[in-house]
């Protein structure tokens, strides 16, 4: 069966520090991978998606970047965190079109 792992679960970082969140998927090949963010009291906003290794599309301009060094690995990064980067970050995967997304357990990021 397919599983998705996302870590860490919580993270507290000072403003200006770097960020690296990692997500891996097991049990499937060539998945579509996604990074979403839920800001406090807000809905889920798509940040990045990837349909293959090295292929990254950004949905919103921001202080963040994403990379996909391996088929089932998706990394969210920042060189210098801002206060506005605080939120609940979710990794997700899917296969094909019109298929549901499967989400990881999320990372609660607090930038202080």
């Amino acid at each position: 069966s397919q599983t998705i792992h996302q870590w860490p679960a919580t993270l507290v970082q000072p403003v200006g520090s770097p960020l690296s969140l990692e997500c891996t998927v097991e049990g499937t090949s060539n998945p579509n991978l996604y990074w979403y963010r839920q800001a406090a009291g807000r809905g889920l906003q798509l940040l990045f998606y990837s349909v293959g290794i090295g292929q990254i599309s950004s949905e919103v301009p921001q202080n963040l970047s994403a990379s996909r060094p391996q088929d089932r690995q998706f990394i969210l990064s920042s060189k210098k965190l801002l206060l506005s980067d605080s939120g609940f970050y979710l990794c997700a995967w899917s296969t094909g079109s019109n298929e549901k997304l499967f989400f990881g357990s999320g990372t609660q990021l607090s930038v202080l």
């Binding site: 996302q6 679960a9 809905g43 998606y49 019109n98 499967f102 989400f103 990881g104 357990s105 999320g106």
Partner: protein, 113 residues
């Protein structure tokens, strides 16, 4: 511009009664709709979906209704249980756009014993 809107941020229902969560969308290219359930500090889990060729889909206590002309969908939970207390997100996907789900802002459902 919010293409998917959940106008009720919260809803409180008595156990055993019906919960009705509503969702409106503006993009006529959306043709696949999903509901997700989210507990605090956890990722959303898929609940139920509906294709635009249908107007109703039922799965146990959960039923989703789609009114394409009104660009409106709703999730009915009958009977509501305390374990249903969570945030519910509706999401929509345009035809042939991959899984580029657009999510609503969520509705927090509280089911009181």
């Amino acid at each position: 511009d919010q293409q998917v809107k959940q106008n009720s941020p919260s809803l409180s229902v008595q156990e055993g009664r019906i919960s009705i969560l509503n969702c409106d969308y503006t993009n006529s290219m959306f043709d696949y709709f999903l509901w997700y359930k989210k507990y605090p500090a956890e990722g959303p889990t898929f609940l139920i979906s509906i294709s635009s060729i249908k107007d109703k889909n039922e799965d146990g206590r959960f039923t989703v209704f789609l009114n394409k002309s009104a660009k409106h969908l709703s999730l009915h939970i009958v009977p509501s249980q305390p374990g249903d207390s969570a945030v519910y997100f509706c999401a929509a996907n345009p035809l042939n756009a991959g899984n580029m789900l657009t999510f609503g802002g969520g509705t927090r459902l509280m089911v009181k014993p």
